[in-house]
Symmetry: C2
Subunit: 350 residues, 2 copies
């Protein structure tokens, strides 16, 4: 029943070094004992740290790579210098070769996407990959995409994002027919950005068995959990995500300041500590860490560069869950079905 | 010194009726005694309510209008049916005729923008108006625009938004040379959306005396207060604003739930009540209510449709402050200077 999943890790990615990446992997292993690891990076840096995580060492294979992609490298430069030999490339390649079910990296997003596209290629029927994020909402988690894999999109791409997000929701949340909303603006004059409206028309008409289109949603609907999957193009998606993160951080700071300001408030805090910890837990960004690259012939997860071990472990957990639940197969089935629908429609028109 | 400012109000706009609008105006008058009001709307609805606000009645003139623009009217339809005669139109017209310094409406955003453009026309040099919002940040308030007056923008429009936002910051915050950042995404691959990069180049080269360009900012920089003015096109701006509002509301609900869950937490709350009230105050959206239409030959403020009297009063307060501080004159001076720079550049190139 519990087959072992192999996870390939770019140990050189991230702002916080090998220690944090391996501590994250060790934590993930503790939670998910049916995992094995392929660790790509500089042997001389990995070995001494790995020696301190004996359980992890037992299920890991270290693959030495001389080259590490810098966090600030331009994607084109990273691709030129790191292709075929960097720890990032080789971690992705392990997914391509079937040696790993998913690759996790906290490295440079642009380089990771460029290499993933180059190495894994897009799924049949997918023009552009997307980055999906898990978004904590009032009704549990939702999926929001694209978080910035590409800028701009046309109607067909938004439809394909909807299917990708839908497949991910089915793999992660065990919902048979996830609801999908298209992010739009509420100012009446311009309610209909044309390509978003067109995407809405396609989704409504197609009435996919694998996702249920519920119409337009606005920025504040994301946090309400109005839809299981919220779809938008990369520029606005990235801005929405970062703005929400910024707002949450801002409020957390206000809260801390308000409480430390007076003795009465500090006394109150002592009593309410449990409540605050629950709140902190709910607002903890590391609990929902991990951007999922969707639409490629293989699974790659981007962890926040600054993730702590908890954050990195949750990115690994996300990858493990999607691999175990067969995300890629689900998505590929959907895409095939969609292509068939499109071509039969085309024929009936001709 | 304290000259009287006349404010024209579309009393028929908003979700909550005449009562709330007039209570808001009465509250605003209390705070800003040097104001007078022109109240546009149905006399039979206004008079009885106004009679209960004697101070407001003393400084108000009621102008009867038969027609009210519905909250869900399409802008084109509103314009066709309400032009020249609706309360919304006539409130805007009062600004055009110089009888009022600013118009405030809680009505239909699309209709208000369509009528404002039609009635007031764009300032010389401005291709498109924008809607600017006040955004509470860790370093005081910032201005963010465009919140959705139009979708998409080119480099020149972003530059003109920067100048509009800069003029507003000077009028509101008494900063001589406000900092301006262009909203962009941080994913390395696509850091340079071309029209945003181009706008950055223009702003950097121009090195305006009236605003200081500081480069790209990301979604989480808005709440940090990295720039006094954050500029983006309307789609992403609207989504950023609504997402931030949604996140704040979500956290407020979490907080309430966490506290009401246990006796200890409720006891803690009693002690920390002052701190919570301060926090609530800081997070209160009605304190920063009011979208400012910039780039027209006259000032129009859009209040949230669902604003309470406090919210509507703060939209009036915003309009009053900008009128008193000569926003329009400042902006028109800047635009003239910018046009002169552009044409001298053009000449030197020829």
């Amino acid at each position: 029943m519990n087959k072992t999943i192999t996870i390939s890790i770019d140990v050189m990615g991230g702002d916080n070094g090998v220690d944090v990446i391996l501590a994250g992997a060790a934590l993930a292993l503790k939670r998910m004992p049916h995992t094995k690891f392929l660790l790509f990076g500089k042997q001389e840096l990995i070995e001494p740290v790995l020696a301190t995580h004996t359980a992890l060492a037992d299920v890991s294979e270290v693959v030495h790579c001389d080259i590490a992609v810098a966090m600030d490298a331009k994607p084109s430069m990273a691709l030129r210098q790191g292709r075929y030999k960097s720890s990032m490339w080789r971690a992705i390649e392990a997914v391509k070769d079937g040696r790993a079910g998913v690759c996790v990296s906290a490295g440079n997003t642009g380089a990771l996407m460029a290499m993933s596209r180059f190495c894994l290629r897009s799924m049949p029927g997918v023009e552009r990959p997307a980055i999906a994020a898990i978004w904590p909402t009032m009704r549990g988690d939702s999926i929001v995409l694209d978080m910035g894999a590409t800028i701009g999109a046309d109607a067909k791409q938004l439809v394909s994002f909807s299917m990708m997000g839908g497949a991910m929701a089915r793999a992660l949340f065990s919902i048979k027919r996830p609801t999908v909303g298209l992010l739009n603006v509420g100012v009446e004059e311009i309610k209909g950005v044309e390509y978003v409206r067109e995407a809405g028309r396609i989704l409504k008409e197609a009435d996919f068995p694998f996702c249920k289109y519920i119409g337009f949603v606005e920025g504040d609907d994301i946090g309400k959990g109005t839809a299981d999957v919220v779809v938008t193009e990369g520029f606005s998606g990235n801005i929405a995500l970062k703005t929400a993160e910024g707002t949450a951080r801002q409020i957390a700071i206000y809260l801390r300041e308000s409480i430390s300001r007076s003795l009465m408030a500090r006394i109150g805090y002592v009593f309410a500590r449990g409540a605050f910890n629950r709140l902190k837990d709910k607002m903890d960004p590391s609990k929902s860490n991990g951007g999922v690259f969707l639409g490629l012939n293989g699974l790659v997860i981007k962890s926040h560069g600054s993730a702590d071990p908890e954050g990195f472990a949750s990115a690994i957990g996300l990858g493990e869950a999607m691999t175990r639940n067969g995300l890629l197969q689900k998505l590929s089935d959907d895409m095939t079905q969609f292509q068939a629908m499109l071509s039969s429609e085309q024929e009936s028109k001709e």
